[in-house]
Symmetry: C2
Subunit: 105 residues, 2 copies
Amino acid sequence: MDIQLKRGLLDVCVLAAIKDRDSYGYQMIKDMKPYIEMSESTLYTILKRLESANMLTVRTVEHNGRLRKYYHITKEGLARIDEFKNEWREVMLIYQFVSKEDKPQ
Amino acid sequence: MDIQLKRGLLDVCVLAAIKDRDSYGYQMIKDMKPYIEMSESTLYTILKRLESANMLTVRTVEHNGRLRKYYHITKEGLARIDEFKNEWREVMLIYQFVSKEDKPQ
DNA sequence: GCATAATACATCATATCACGAGGTATCGGC
DNA sequence: GCCGATACCTCGTGATATGATGTATTATGC
């Protein structure tokens, strides 16, 4: 998939992955895989960014001797998803502009 | 509209703006305005990029003493639009992932 | 007649961001 | 004891949208 097209979807996908239940990085990559693939470096960059923007909070949990960071969506994060849904109307308009079949002159 | 979301649409919008008839920069901005707004600096950057990628060709025309550069889409450019349409299925899948309403646990 | 807006192009510096390459450490299976 | 899976992280690079700025002509308003 085209990288540029992906860009607008990545952040919001990560938020969607923790919308209904808290999750951690490694798990999120597996959950999102059927829809969108992203490398670990990409995900952790995004998680940092979303944390700075107060769209999620983090808590560290020890699991079988290994460290896990669970991410929890905030109300700002949920608002971001709603904003995305609203913007989607504009996106669909653009899609129609691009894909419409006109008679060439 | 979110810049990141815009990124994947800009190139293909420019191609769509010249799909059915040749056009020039200033006109294209006006034609695309109802769907997507972009500054002149953005458009001319994109036109250069699309030219390098052989997705369009340019011819300069004198119009009322002023210079105009008319852009013409190539078959590679048309193929790019088709590719975009194919990718749209993936995009819609992602959209559904993001916007689905699940019962929170 | 003159100022301002519109037409039409262009360049440059800046900021944002996805990603590969590489790193650290633990656990389970064989 | 080795390897793959689990789980995190950092850094450098390349791509790119945009504001600021510049040049030049034509049309319009007063």
